[in-house]
């Protein structure tokens, strides 16, 4: 069942059309990847679905709720991880998780459960008691991924989730994302790392210059374009 329906989505920045009538669906529990180069319109699409930016045209429905009409309700079930995100430097890692859990938890015990999950995902041990200003880029990213997933959102929107992480941490985070999807969290992610998306995603959409060129499972796309990996698929599609 499609829980995210995007139809003819358009976004203009002045005279520039950043998203040009794209359409795709995401099924419940699925990991859906948007792949494309820098400036393809991936981040703009994620920002629109995350209720940050207003669309100029088209329709988006998330769990049946219409974007632009029921944004407050949509925000209660989604969690967005921006590509270039940061955390409040004056707070400790633990304080940051506590602050963010405060927006989603309905009662103290739920909040406690969220924080415990966040602590587990972040896996920063005693450093969670240190201020975020002392964290490395990788540590901050792990904290942010933990923040995005700890509330068990119905839809996790992850923009370049492993950006800034080393190989070991990237693999760890990919496994965590896969695990969450198995537990019912639907994931929409974007990346220009096509190999990562190939590993993670159930289905992908190839996007460039604001348009989606093709959508499908990585294996079917590779078969269709007679390619060894998604990078080769992409090059074939945008040729």
């Amino acid at each position: 069942m499609a829980i995210v329906e995007v139809k003819n989505l358009i976004k203009d920045y002045g005279a520039l059309r950043a998203v040009d009538g794209i359409s795709f669906d995401i099924n419940e529990g699925e990991i859906f990847g948007l792949i494309g180069p820098n400036g393809a319109g991936k981040t703009t699409t994620l920002r629109i679905i995350s209720t940050i930016l207003k669309k100029n045209g088209g329709e988006v429905a998330i769990f049946g709720m219409r974007l632009g009409h029921e944004d407050a309700r949509i925000r209660e079930i989604i969690s967005y991880l921006p590509e270039e995100a940061g955390a409040y430097k004056n707070l400790t890692g633990f304080g940051y998780l506590d602050f963010m859990a405060g927006f989603y938890a309905k009662n103290p015990s739920e909040k406690k459960a969220f924080i415990e999950r966040g602590v587990e995902i972040a896996d920063l041990g005693g450093r969670l008691k240190s201020k975020v200003s002392t964290y490395s880029k990788g540590m901050t990213r792990k904290l942010l991924v933990a923040r995005a997933l700890m509330i068990m959102p119905k839809l996790a929107i992850l923009d370049e989730p492993t950006s800034g992480l080393d190989v070991v941490n990237s693999i760890e985070i990919r496994e965590i994302i896969k695990g969450f999807a198995k537990n019912g969290v639907t994931v929409l992610l974007s990346s220009h790392n096509m190999l990562e998306v190939e590993f993670l995603s159930d289905r992908v959409a190839l996007i460039d210059k604001g348009k989606i060129f093709d959508t499908g499972t990585p294996s079917k796309l590779k078969e269709k374009y007679n390619a060894r990996n998604l990078e080769e698929v992409f090059m074939e599609v945008v040729k």
């Binding site: 920045y13 920002r47 995350s50 209720t51 940050i52 930016l53 207003k54 407050a72 925000r75 209660e76 989604i78 969690s79 967005y80 991880l81 921006p82 270039e84 995100a85 940061g86 955390a87 409040y88 430097k89 004056n90 707070l91 602050f99 963010m100 405060g102 927006f103 989603y104 942010l144 923040r147």
Partner: protein, 427 residues
């Protein structure tokens, strides 16, 4: 805990940093220290001080002069020295600041109306209060003596006339009329009394508006600089509450800082004025003229001040949307600072109601002018001006808050930025 309390607590934590607390505490301690230092110096200057007197006359009148000096808290020492230089050396050695030389024939010259010259030498080692106050005290004694001797001369010439009448044939009497009340006092005294009791109001007002605006601008700019804004905009809390939280946290922190600042300033001013600032010495004059705030005046002044702060914060929110970092936020506040300083200085040096019509309109159009104008208008019975001002401030604040929340709910919060190069590019 509500979502609003959650974000408010975080915003306050963002503002109350060591970088804020340490300079603030240093300022409070420093102000108190300087106040105490000046106060103890003043007390020292007012205590009985030794001076050196070289009396070459040894007459009744010179002895009388020395008694007068004693009355004026100056203790004359008469060392047995040969000349003026030795007297100065003696004074320097003993740390005495003033040497008086009474010439031979002092008394005779006075009685023969030849105006003898008394030299007063001040030993200056710096610009301390003691160095400056002692010669002044000596001159006061001579002034009293001159007055007393001249009165004696007048008495001798005009036996039935008061010397006071001869010295001042015309006597003036000052009255101040305020609304329907008349009081026997000079306008300078009224102005001084008013200033002494209300000196802190505009100062604190400027401080509160500027400080809270800067804090708010930094808070919004920090969200952008630290890349936390995008995430914040997706959490389930109404956008207007994000704006209100930032405005309220800046207001709360500024209020606490203002109390500390006022405490330090009070200690400082109390020290340099000997505790006379804001004292009740003039309150009688002000009360007689009705120049005191009633509880209704305080309420109106409070509302006007609150609305001015709200207007400034709303304008700041709108301006801060266009910046990308904390440095940019400070630069963006320059127009606000100018609009704040104009009414501050104008109300400090003049009555805006006496200005030309275009200038008056300009001043009244600045929403931050109204609390500055309110105290004078309330005291001088122009209550309707204050009420109209409050109405104007309310409309301005509501419109600005609506614009600010609308911007926070739109793409502009992420996409708007000022391109300084384009702004200043010559056409």
């Amino acid at each position: 805990m509500s979502k609003f309390t959650n974000i408010l607590k975080k915003d306050i934590k963002e503002l109350v940093t060591l970088e804020l607390i340490v300079p603030l505490l240093i300022m409070v301690v420093l102000f108190s220290f300087i106040g105490n230092l000046v106060s103890s110096e003043t007390k020292k200057a007012m205590a009985p001080q030794n001076i050196v007197v070289l009396d070459y006359d040894n007459s009744n009148l010179s002895t009388n002069l020395m008694n007068e000096l004693k009355q004026g808290n100056l203790i004359p020492e008469t060392p047995s020295v040969k000349n003026m230089q030795s007297a100065i050396d003696y004074a320097k050695e003993k740390g005495i600041k003033v040497v008086i030389e009474i010439p031979k024939g002092f008394e005779d010259s006075i009685f023969n109306l030849k105006q003898p010259e008394v030299n007063i030498y001040s030993v200056m080692n710096g610009l301390s209060i003691t160095s400056l106050s002692q010669p002044s005290m000596v001159r006061n004694v001579f002034q009293l003596l001159n007055d007393s001797i001249s009165s004696e001369f007048i008495k001798q010439k005009f036996a039935n006339v008061s010397p006071e009448i001869v010295k001042n044939p015309i006597k003036t009497k000052d009255f101040v009329i305020l609304n329907k009340t008349v009081a026997e006092v000079s306008p300078e005294i009224v102005s001084q009394a008013f200033m002494s009791q209300n000196i802190f109001i505009p100062m604190i007002l400027v401080f509160v508006i500027l400080y809270s605006s800067q804090m708010l601008a930094s808070l919004i700019a920090l969200e952008k600089q630290n890349k936390t804004l995008e995430t914040l905009l997706t959490v389930p809390i109404q956008r207007p509450l994000i704006v209100v939280s930032k405005m309220l946290s800046s207001g709360i922190v500024t209020l606490i800082i203002s109390v500390l600042y006022l405490f330090g300033m009070k200690n400082y001013m109390g020290g340099i004025s000997g505790g006379e600032i804001g004292s009740t010495q003039y309150s009688g004059v002000l009360q007689k003229l009705g120049l005191t705030f009633t509880s209704q005046s305080f309420i109106l002044l409070g509302i006007s001040t609150f609305l001015a702060i709200l207007a400034a914060l709303a304008v700041t929110t709108i301006l801060a949307v266009y910046v990308e970092d904390v440095k940019g936020a400070q630069a963006m506040l320059t127009p606000l600072m100018v609009l704040l300083m104009i009414p501050y200085f104008i109300t400090l040096f003049t009555d805006p109601n006496t200005l030309s019509l275009p200038l008056k309109i300009f001043i009244y159009a600045i929403p931050f002018s109204h609390p500055f104008l309110a105290s004078q208008n309330l005291l001088f019975g122009r209550v309707s001006f204050v009420i109209y001002g409050i109405l104007y401030e309310s409309i301005f604040s509501i419109v600005c808050v609506m614009i600010a929340t609308k911007i926070f709910s739109s793409d502009k919060i992420l996409t708007a930025k000022v391109k300084w190069g384009k702004l200043f590019k010559s056409r």
